[in-house]
Symmetry: C2
Subunit: 217 residues, 2 copies
């Protein structure tokens, strides 16, 4: 059992991750800007999920998962970077730039993950994941028909996160180095485009031909 | 039946595309730098496939598909741009930078597709596709377990290419604007990484949850 904070955990993505991790047997705290809001939402979710202000939630955990919109990424990461200690920080940010969310617009640094690494500094153990999962499906009891790519330059941290994703009933797959996050970040715009073009409610991806990968749950 | 040239068509990717298009009933010419080499390879392939020098092959066709390595992309596109006329040019280039081919390294322009658009000029009808298909599997009789993403700002041209991919026994899917090629270009490095990490011979991707997409053949 790992102790896990989900920062900005009151949207579909954060709640979906929190709920599935709690069901998988982990000790989960949802963080929000306001402690009372986090506590109220956590109480409504049950499963032993707790609520706290973001910076309190980030402290003393094994894993800290950040689920905030791109425009809040920098401020949120700078707020928690001195709190997380030796925890693995998992960022889920996709650099969507409304209104053109069906158009790939990667930042000049190459990807939001590279920017996040700058915001956190080199000491923090850092992983990215969950870029491509439809948040409203994750935050339901439906089966998620989408592999979850996990990127990091810290191989042990990447393994830990792949394993946590398995505990959530999803298939996590290592996607290589942190900079490879660019592929998953860009793919999100393709999936949004496909939702519109092919009448999908939550388009996803599956990788094929992998001999030694975990089976699809 | 469309008349189609496959420029640089003597590698696995070019031969695989040529063979499957010819089997699908199209009139196919393979192009190579040397006409005699193209003719010899075409004769060996049968199926009515012809061979010619690249610039001869590019002339008078409905569709011109370019399958050359990234380092030859600029020279090849500049060589054919005044030959192709009203043909749809389909570029397959992935900006891999050996030896770090498992690492996403998109060019400063955002993607190789944006660079190709510059090389061709604004007059040419331009589409990208085939970034993620394992070339050695395409160039065999095996089933290709991979969707083929098709990108363009020219919606009619994109539709034509999606349809041609269907004729090849593969599933083509529209992926949106030309700049969205960045997602498929980046994904190729992930697939190469997965081939090594998960003992795959030709990892691929399938999109899930698409209600109105063509069925998987």
């Amino acid at each position: 059992m790992a102790s896990i904070a989900v920062i900005g955990g009151t949207g579909h993505l954060g709640k979906g991750i929190a709920r599935r991790l709690a069901k998988g047997g982990h000790d989960v705290t949802i963080g929000s800007r306001a402690a009372d809001r986090a506590e109220a939402i956590a109480a409504g979710m049950g499963l032993g999920i707790k609520g706290a202000a973001n910076d309190d939630a980030a402290q003393g955990k094994d894993v800290v998962i950040v689920t905030v919109p791109y425009e809040n990424q920098e401020a949120t990461l700078k707020q928690i970077r001195d709190k997380v200690g030796s925890a693995i920080v998992v960022d889920t940010t996709v650099p969507l730039m409304p209104p053109k969310v069906m158009r790939v617009q990667l930042p000049a640094a190459g990807c939001a993950a590279a920017e996040a690494r700058e915001h956190l500094g080199p000491e923090v153990r850092f992983v990215t994941a969950f870029h491509n999962v439809a948040a409203h499906i994750l935050d339901s009891d439906a089966k998620v028909e989408c592999d979850v790519l996990v990127f990091s330059d810290d191989i042990e941290a990447r393994k830990t996160v792949v394993s946590l994703i398995g505990d959530m009933g999803l298939r996590g797959l290592a996607g290589g180095a942190l900079v490879n996050s660019a592929a998953a970040e860009a793919l999100t715009s393709i999936l949004i485009y496909m939702n519109k073009t092919y009448s999908a409610d939550g388009a996803g991806i599956r990788f094929t031909g992998l001999t030694t990968a975990p089976p699809i749950p």
